[in-house]
Amino acid sequence: MNYAMIFNNIGKILLVEAALLVFPSIGAVIYGENTLLSFALTIAALAVTGLLCVRKKAKNKNIYAKEGYAIVALSWIFMSLFGALPFYFSGHIPSFVDAFFETVSGFTTTGSTILTEIESLPKSLLFWRSFTHWIGGMGILVFVIAVMPKTESSSMHVMRAEVPGPTVGKLVSKLRASARILYGIYCVLTLVQIVLLFAGGMPLFDSIVTSFATAGTGGFAILNNSIEGYNSLYAEMVIAVFMLIFGVNFNLYYMILIKQGKQALKSEELRWYIGIVAGSVIIIALSLINTKHNVGESFRYSFFQVASIISTTGFSTTNFDTWPVIAKLILTFLMFIGACAGSTGGGIKVSRLMILVKSALRDIRKAINPRSVETVKLDRRSVDEPVVKSTSVFFATFMLITALSIMVVAIDGRDLVTTSTAVVACMGNIGPGLGAVGPYGNFADFSTLSKIVLSFDMLAGRLELIPMLMIFSPYAWSRKYS
């Protein structure tokens, strides 16, 4: 392990976070809130730690895969530890573990909250809370690659560890240019949503923070009743459509930009994504028509909720905890699936699901005719066998961690649905689950141990397991094995 380089990079991240904290501080000044001091203290702490980390120059500037993973995992942990300070210093979240949980939930774009009363929080803190979604959505290390003058040639390892999906490619030959294109698309889409929401009559502050939460597919709302509180069909539809948009692989938007839109529409993952959304919306709407609502309302609620869950955002327009079992079950499945690879969403990812399904079908065909040579194909191209294998391992590990976490959280003695969906919602970075952690509930009543385990799950889900697991492995750190 190249400790000097790891600390150097973490130092850079902390300095960037200090710079980003200036925005909520400005908010505190504008609204004349007393949170300014807590922000200033946090910025000072970040700047001092960051500078100390950056000051030590590394002799060997090479980063290899393991350093890349370690940088990403540790950066996210430190970022969340420091990001929690404004909540803690200002006294609005008196317990540090709670503040850490809330911040991890923000950065990982989960959107699970421990706050029972959101509307009473100062606006600058609400802004920071939603802003963490926006930063975490595309990834702060990708941001650093985009803005830093000349990145090391091996930053690819860092990018790979932070951008979700089974395989990560670049858009253009230079990593920095690729990162800039991604952030460019991200910013423009966010801006468009802000304008659309504002034009629909939502207050400017609400438009901005809601768009941040949508763009990162996070799901922190600033009303106690989430999006239901606005009670506007227009706002709901804008948000629903943008949630789906941010759940699509950003590479496709780049292809549209370079006028290869037709090819982008041919993407198999996009078709599966749309298919899953359409199927789920129809089934849930049908189940609702039978039991609760009229046709129009059924589709309205069903569409919003499906978009919210599959993109792993976690906004709600109704208490779906009271929906029929079939609807709740489908939503739970969607929590596992998640959005497309290369998007800001979480979960297992549609492309991994495709690889899993197709490799299962392949094995069945192979059982029927053992001599046939078959490969798993995505977009009519064979997927490399190591990728297929690592996808299966990813799925197994994902399920294993989910199961172990459920067992630890179960110590709290809550009911089965609450316990299990709380973990699933955190692993998949969704936010609300079912039962007591449903759209009308929150995570406040869990024990400290459960909150730490859930925070770990959120980070593991956002960084796609390997980085978070690796930093706990003695093989990675001990000189004996390197």
Partner: protein, 451 residues
Amino acid sequence: MHIIIVGLGKLGITMTKQLVAEGHNITVVDLNNDTLSTIVDTYDVMGVWGNGTTCETLEAAGVSKAKLIIAATASDEVNILCCLVANRMGVENTIARVRNPDYATQTQFMRNELGLSMIVNPEFETANEISRIIRFPSAANLDSFSRGKIEIASIRIHSDNMFCDMPLYEIRKKCKAKVLVCAVQRDDEVFIPSGDFVIRCDDIISITGTRSELSTFMKQTGVFKQKIKKVMIIGGGRIGYYLAKLLSDTGRTIKLIEQNDSRCYSLTDTLPDVTVIHGDGTDQDILEEQGLEYQDALVALTGIDEENIIVSMYAESKGINKVITKVNRHSYSILNDIGLDTVVSPQIVAGNLVTRYVRALHNSAGNSQIQTLHKLVNGKVEAVEFVVPEDAGYLDIPFKDLQLLPNLLIGCIHRNGKIIFPGGNDVLKANDSIIVVTAGRILEDIHDIFV
């Protein structure tokens, strides 16, 4: 600038490394997925899997944006075809590696009739470089400028050297020859020295001057080596063939040892003046039998680095005047430490040629004044030759009034056949050739040397 590199062999990788360092947008194309993913992980480039001669693959590699394509696959014919296809698809500049000696005589034809911008033959260029070193054996390495009128030679200062622990201005007073020390390598560090720089023993210094002045300097410092008349070449591959031909044309006695029987016969046919020996050139007995100790120089050119190094060390221990080692894995810097001063590698030689071409191409002025580019000291130092344009703003201004960038030195000025080592009162005139030596900076244009 967008560049496509087809084929990730040793040459392809070397060029990828060099051109990425120059800041270009590079797409690499190869048929081997493993190589491709390693390169994409190591360097900031985009990888495209596929056959580089097909339109589809070239399309995926962004042929419409590309300004240059470099074909460096294992096959000459594929490289030529690849360049032709890319050229028809709109790539203006094409570089092909063509190394089969059969084609060597028709490079002019291929450039003119097939429209290739440049043909790189790493083996021939390497042979050329080795023959230059053999003609001036005192230097560990030798690079020439202004069509050979000026050279940069690097020599190691041994502890018995009179210039050891002496500052440069002292050396300049005591030295009878008109030469200039333009770079000093000490362990892993490189210095562009000023007048009060002190030379220590075991430094490797690079000096510029004309051939005869350099010889005078070598004689005075005691590193002068006698003219080489008898050369033994181990390995009759492509480099061996080119080298034997080049050297025998200058009247030297060549003994070429080659292991492969039929290859020996074809070498005898094509090289009538060369003694071709059939045998394992890495075998000590055969070396003794063929009279290694009576040779003036030994050149180890087998396909295996380790064998070349072993043979060279053996020859060095036998006191052979000049030992030249070819290695492909040039990244190891220990070779200097074990006493092998003169090491050449074909990829580096070819890579430098391509880099020079690319830099000239990239220069916005379109008519870059770069004439020659050499990388010294493991690529850490660059020596670039420029021609001063006629409309430049810095003509006739004394150097003491011009502000040059730090870590940069003007090696010498070549004006109408005269060599000038510039002092504060000298000026630049139109059509001068100047040689600029710099560390850690990329010079594309002569304007780049001023602050």
